[in-house]
Subunit: 196 residues, 2 copies
């Protein structure tokens, strides 16, 4: 029991890892713990858009654990493209460390979920990635492009970075977002980064 | 798709509903969204202590949705005992309102999870309640009794309010906590509320 307690208290640190979006109506930045909760519910809500064979419970499990490595590394914005391999290696090492706090059976189960998400090779992992990538877009669309404006992110860059994983995991969600993103572009909610 | 988006953006408001515990090492109070995430992972970690027939995925689903009614009502501390029936009715009305944002199939599934937790009659719901009640105790035990001290909560009151639901849902967790609570009492981490 003590190992479970040590693990769940270690999880508390994810409440201090901040992301680039601000919750609607709040001045502070969102943290990775509440983000993980929200995308688990997004995935549950999107179930009718999942292929019939998809195990939505495994999707939810993946989304609940997928950011745990950030306890050691911090969040990295999806638009930061340098040093990606190093960050991924650091997050993998962190996941191994943190799940090893648990008794072996639970450590193995949760690390397997984390690794399945990380590899993005199964239909469940791809569906999970679609929910994870879509959520900040949905928040920005509801918040006048807040994190795109603050970070000078161009429309073309959003399409390039989040389009393929969302389309691969949940095509209907991408068709919806693509149209909303075009409306946002016409409203001037994006930056004009040279890299776009 | 728009109804799913409306629902998930409504969920954003739970990030603004604060509880009485402070995350370890942070000055701010915890919110109900990140709390829901943490107890879902606590329940997954406690699976070996669940009766063999328990569907842990349903437990996780219940924990992810159980606080959604607080979007309209705010969090109520477990030690506030007045007006409980009115608050429960208000939370039920809120849950009905919020899940109705979803298309009917998902609304029905999620409201059923919420109601199952609320009724606390199935083994899954009792296991979920044990995780929900245990988490603030675990945070207080790791934080010098922070919310007990700040709110003058007595040891006897903690035992009376959280003991029965935790023991009913996950006896091994309660045996662990009972011993830790006694150590905390000897350290003087509780208040002396007359009502205890």
């Amino acid at each position: 029991m003590q190992r479970i307690v040590d693990f769940v208290l270690e999880l508390d640190k994810l409440k201090a890892v901040t992301r680039k979006n601000r919750p609607l109506g709040l001045a502070r930045y969102e943290n990775s713990a509440e983000h993980s909760w929200q995308i688990a519910l997004l995935a549950m809500s999107l179930q009718p858009y999942a292929d019939p064979g998809i195990d939505i419970e495994r999707v939810v499990g993946m989304l609940l654990v997928h950011d745990i490595g950030e306890i050691d590394t911090g969040d990295t914005n999806v638009y930061v493209e340098d040093g990606q391999a190093e960050r991924q290696a650091a997050e993998r090492a962190a996941a191994v460390r943190i799940f090893a706090l648990l008794p072996p059976a639970q450590a193995e189960t949760m690390l397997a979920l984390w690794q399945e998400f990380d590899a993005a090779a199964t239909p469940e992992a791809r569906f999970a990635h679609a929910a994870d990538r879509a959520m900040p877009v949905l928040l920005n669309l509801a918040n006048d492009g807040q994190s795109w404006r603050e970070n000078g992110i161009a429309h073309a860059r959003v399409l390039r970075r989040v389009g393929p994983p969302i389309r691969a995991g949940c095509p209907a969600l991408w068709y919806y977002l693509e149209a909303r993103l075009e409306e946002a572009r016409l409203r001037g909610w994006f930056g004009a980064d040279a890299d776009a």
